[in-house]
Amino acid sequence: VNAKKDRAAVYAKTGAVAAVYVALLWSVYQYSAIRWPAYSWFWVAATFVGVQCALTSTILIGVYIHRSVVEIRRRRGLSALYFLRQCIASHAAGDDLRAELAPTVKSFPSEFDATLLEFLDGFRGTERERLVDLAASMGTVDRNIRAYRSRNPAKRRNALDALAKIASPEARLTLERALDDPDESLRLTASRALLSVGGRAEAEKVFATSLLQAPVFRALVAEDLRPFILVLKEKAVPEALRSNNLREVLATLDIIWSWGRVIDLPEATAFVDSPDSVIRAVAIHACRYAAPHTLSSMVPRCLEDPAPIVRRAAAEAAERLVLAAALPQLLQCLSDSDERVARSAAKAMSRMGAKGLNLLEVQVIEGSPHVAPVALEAVEKARLGRIDWE
């Protein structure tokens, strides 16, 4: 609904500008053609040239004026910067300088906010608390909450970043609300901001939010959730795996795979037998970290799965876990109808020492025309040492 509204707004604005443009053309033409009726084609051309030159000049002059105003404001702000820094530092040290700061903050609110946020980065403990109080009393929190309600996405993102730095109760509340924002980029910013200031509860909330988002969101948030892996493993992850919603389960397995850290989650192995082939494949990837020992015994069976995506995941797991027990099934996979499965199997075999390489070399000589090239490529890579870094 939001996207449709946004599109409609763009069309409406374009239509409005186009209407003004056409009206301008028509008026200028009418005015010129009536006054000088001869050579009407000349006036058509002259109208176009004149109107377009006028529009271009207006835009250029507008840009110049805007830039000049911004520059003047910036220079005026610089004059107050020294005073603001001194006052904020003294306030952090224990002096109460709110009364002295108030008139300057009224004149230069954005400069004050930027300076205060810089200071917040460098302080901890009581000094930081004093600065957070100052942010609340001088209106920095309110200004950023207002900026978050703006229509400009960049402004809203900056406001959320600022609120994350302040991390006062009101700021946290706004960040939590932003997790449900219709704009994905703002949900992402809010999630990352909450994780940067929050604890267990915030991590669980962000984890739960990320399960319903697009893969890019999960990929980004999963990295920020890394410091909370042990916390999430206790309750949030097992709960998500018990969910009846397959999308949530898939997202959880995706995140475990993305973390790439060994965590003990034996319940993840149940999904290796899921009726959905995509879930089976992702579960195999996730179980490499969540339950490597249990997975080892399941890989040979998975290599015979009817779905190529699962066979490929199993071959990759066999490679990572160096499962010599899976060699007979991997050998069968060399002649798989899906070439990606065959290549993954060959790569896995080439990592299993002399036994795997010998089997591959036999296939190079005796294998079918489909199998021999795949085996040869894997042997060559292993012999040249490429397999170790690729």
Binding site: A9, V10, V17, A18, A154, V216, E223, E377, R386
Partner: protein, 253 residues
């Protein structure tokens, strides 16, 4: 019977006027279309949610959920720039990408430069003959720990080279570029993002900018500038209009 001078003059006048109106109508139409596209593009860009920030890029780079990418770069007589271009492509900021250069029967020493510069050996990597292409003479890979594949094939044009590259590529996604193009260091991360946002997406395109006149160092644009010749400058403006305004507008539509 000969037509009178007056009727000839009338005919000439009529043709002259019609021609003038046709020219004016054409210029007016094209200007109006460009103007509307520019306005639409302007509002569409204002609404754009913005790309990933530098911090988000770093997070995405570490993620194992990123698909692998093969960059296909057809090259024909590119000996002057191939070394720098391939180095730039190999140095792109992406965790899992390979560069596939397709030497499309170059008559110069493009292939030899690649062999010498990147210590290539004849690889046993096989082409999956799914798409038709001119015969492949050899496939090379590097002895160094870099993911570079060079296909040496008979001349067949760009589309034929891309077919050969597609047959040899082994990644989840492929990116087709010209061998003399320069990619922004984060281009692959940006271009992969839509695939991760919407699983229905099958292809994406990037914005192309003109590097004529810019200073290029180590495969990266170090200083943006316009070309010296005025003709080339007009060409840059025209290309920017097509690539920036046109792309943004049609993408929105």
């Amino acid at each position: 019977m000969m037509p009178s001078l007056s009727s000839l003059f009338d005919l000439y006048y009529f043709l002259f006027n019609t021609f003038n109106y046709a020219i004016i109508a054409y210029v007016a139409a094209i200007n109006t279309v460009y103007f509307l596209m520019m306005i639409l593009g302007f509002f569409a860009v204002r609404q754009y949610r913005g790309g990933l920030s530098a911090v988000e890029m770093r997070s995405l780079f570490r993620s194992s959920l990123l698909p692998s990418v093969s960059i296909l770069a057809p090259a024909y007589n590119e000996s002057a720039t191939i070394r720098q271009s391939v180095r730039a492509m190999l140095g792109l900021n992406y965790p899992d990408h390979e560069v596939v250069v397709i030497n499309d029967g170059s008559k110069d020493d493009t292939l030899q430069i690649l062999i010498d510069e990147f210590h290539l050996y004849k690889s046993s990597r096989q082409s999956i003959a799914r798409l038709h292409s001119k015969p492949i003479r050899a496939v090379y890979e590097s002895r160094e720990p870099i993911r570079l594949v060079v296909i040496d094939k008979e001349n067949g044009g760009k589309s034929d080279s891309l077919n050969a590259g597609l047959n040899i590529a082994r990644s989840d996604l492929v990116a087709a570029i010209d061998a003399d193009s320069l990619l922004d260091s984060d281009a692959l991360l940006q271009v992969v993002r839509p695939f991760l946002t919407d699983p229905e997406i099958v292809a994406v395109g990037g914005i192309v900018r003109v590097a004529n006149g810019c200073r290029v160092e180590h495969g990266k644009v170090s200083r943006i500038a316009l070309p010296k010749s005025w003709l080339a400058r007009f060409q840059v403006v025209d290309l920017m209009l097509d690539f920036l305004v046109g792309s943004v507008c049609f993408c929105f539509l």
